[in-house]
């Protein structure tokens, strides 16, 4: 009886400690992001006198000003085009490949996916130097192609791995009966199997979107001499100097990249995390 009471007390103490520590961690993570949002709505004068707090007078005009300064609007559109196109292509290619490896009797499919995954550990810089010279030779530097095609390729190993893991959980009976009903393999894939693995789809889309939207090194290399093709991450690095000490506008520029991402994936996060943990750990 006594030990039961003690145990309950210990749990109670742990609960209090948990709330305190997690609360502090949340502040440590959330405050820098909130600080950015607050600053984006302040005038430069207010930034100097009211560094930490909520803006007294919301300067929404900082946003259109940031959008129109230093080609930021153009960079934003470049990032959208490059990211959307490459994510779509990766999803199509790796879903087909993952289905083939998971369900279509390919011998040594485990070995094939491991080869992809091992290669994926190679740091990008060991690929970029040669790829840059290849792109230069084909006169492809400074085109959307030079960004979209490599981004599509580099996300394939992990995406295909996730798809393969999920396709393997689809019972063979469902596929067999669709085949017997006379559906073509592509039809079976698209209308029978694909709807069963939406968590995998969400995971791959979110994961690739984050990676390609935030990619910096290859974008720097391939757009070095073409102002019109720069993506947001590259543009924002130069943005600071162009803005001088216009802290409000500068922060608004950073928010333009961050806030849509947080809103969009705050929503998808549940599926994303479920898919990631299921795909990455099981097996």
């Amino acid at each position: 009886m006594n030990s039961k009471k003690e145990s309950a007390e210990r749990r109670g103490a742990m609960t209090v400690i948990s709330y305190v520590i997690l609360g502090l961690a949340v502040i440590l993570v959330a405050y820098p992001i909130l600080f950015l949002i607050f600053t984006s709505l302040k005038t430069s004068q207010e930034f100097y006198v009211n560094l930490f707090g909520i803006p007294r007078d919301f300067q929404w005009a900082n946003y259109p000003r940031a959008w129109n300064t230093g080609h930021l609007g153009m960079y934003f559109m470049n990032s959208v085009v490059v990211t959307v196109a490459s994510v779509l292509l990766t999803v199509v290619f790796s879903a087909l490949g993952g289905y083939a490896l998971g369900k279509m009797n390919i011998p040594r499919s485990e070995l094939i996916i491991m080869a992809f995954m091992t290669f994926n550990f190679i740091p990008g810089i060991a690929i970029y130097i040669s790829l840059y010279t290849m792109m230069a030779k084909f006169r492809m530097l400074g085109s959307y192609f030079a960004l979209i095609a490599p981004y599509t390729a580099w996300q394939i190993p992990f995406s295909m791995y996730i798809f393969k893991k999920f396709f393997e959980t689809v019972p063979m009976d469902i596929i067999e009966s669709s085949r017997i009903d006379g559906c073509s393999e592509l039809r079976t894939f698209r209308s029978v199997v694909l709807p069963l693995i939406t968590p995998a789809l969400a995971t791959v889309v979110v994961f690739n979107f984050i990676n390609n939207w935030g990619e910096l090194m290859w974008a720097q290399i391939t757009t070095a001499s073409s102002i019109n093709m720069k993506t947001l991450t590259v543009g924002l690095l130069n943005f600071k100097t162009e803005m001088g000490v216009e802290w409000g506008q500068y922060s608004a520029g950073l928010c333009l990249v961050t806030v849509p991402l947080l809103l969009l994936f705050g929503y998808f996060q549940k599926y994303f995390i479920a898919g990631l943990t299921q795909g990455a750990v099981k097996g």
């Binding site: 039961k4 948990s18 992001i33 930490f52 279509m104 009797n105 060991a126 394939i156 935030g214 943990t277």
Partner: protein, 297 residues
């Protein structure tokens, strides 16, 4: 007989399904990698012919003080940020077990959000934090009357690397926490109840039951964090650009500069291969240190 034939048809179709992914990956990753391997034995300025120089690029690399410093920094950032984010991430995941599921979900969403933000952006946010005059950190110390704690965080050799480490861990912890929490949630609650009935304390439950059961999740997140730290580039570029001087230079940064600013493509290629070897060795080492045993639950 017909069954065998049917199987072969699916194999042929399967290879067709696999073809686009493989072709794209081979063309934009595998071929450039092997081309890079060949390039590393040559001296090439980007124009004109390539001159075969054997291993001399590699020998030069090990005499290059900046490259050796870059190796040291990248390896330090890799292992330290892996250690920090695993320890903090596992502890946070454990504490999440004690809070209600509603508020716990809110905590998780906030703590995971830095993983969504591009590394350049988190680094630019933290350049606000560490800025010596207007930065949040120094102003906070000032407001608390702790003037002696003020530093020029990013230009001081004694603080710069750990500032980078902090930013890298700040971004990485959420992923570790989420992965480990998923592992902890799959442990049957009856196990905890039984241990409590036997009089086990909460700390003992964590060390003896929870931790061993989530080791495969710990291993996975340790490797994710190690890879992120070893390959760190965006964060360092935006925070310090390798400064002060070359003090915080990291491997991808020094290789980038040699290849694309100094036009030493062959030399850059050979350093990038050394980088590959270091990354792969670190991964094997980490897998040995953090053994992930799988338990059937």
């Amino acid at each position: 007989m017909s069954k065998l034939k049917g199987k072969n048809i699916y194999l042929a179709k399967g290879l067709l399904f696999l073809l686009p992914a493989t072709a794209v990956y081979v063309f934009f990753a595998v071929i450039p990698f092997f081309d890079n391997l060949i390039l590393s034995f040559h001296s090439w300025s980007g124009f004109g012919g390539k001159e075969f120089v054997g291993f001399s690029n590699f020998i030069e690399a090990f005499r290059d003080k900046n490259f050796l410093l870059a190796i040291k920094n990248s390896v330090y950032l890799g292992f330290a940020s892996s250690l920090v984010s695993v320890i903090v991430g596992v502890l946070l995941a454990w504490l999440l077990l004690y809070v209600g599921s509603g508020i716990g979900g809110f905590f998780r969403t906030i703590l995971f959000s830095p993983s969504m933000i591009p590394a350049v952006i988190t680094a630019l946010i933290f350049s606000f934090v560490f800025e010596p005059e207007m930065g949040i950190l120094n102003r906070l110390f000032e407001a608390m009357g702790l003037e002696s704690l003020k530093h020029a965080w990013l230009t001081n050799k004694s603080t710069v690397l750990n500032c980078i480490l902090f930013v890298s861990a700040w971004k990485q912890v959420g992923l570790t926490m989420v992965l480990c929490f998923a592992g902890m949630q799959s442990i049957p609650k009856s196990l905890f109840e039984a241990a409590r009935m036997e009089g086990a304390g909460e700390g003992a439950i964590f060390l003896r039951i929870i931790l061993p059961l989530v080791m495969s999740f710990v291993q996975l997140s340790a490797i994710f964090a190690l890879m992120a730290g070893l390959k760190i580039y965006d964060t360092v570029l935006a925070l310090t650009n390798g400064g002060p001087g070359k003090f915080s230079v990291v491997m991808p940064m020094w290789i980038m500069q040699n290849a694309f600013s100094f036009n030493h493509y062959g030399y850059g290629a050979s350093m990038s291969l050394i980088f590959v070897v270091i990354v792969l060795l670190s991964m094997v080492l980490a897998k040995g240190v953090v053994k992930g045993e799988t338990y059937e639950l």
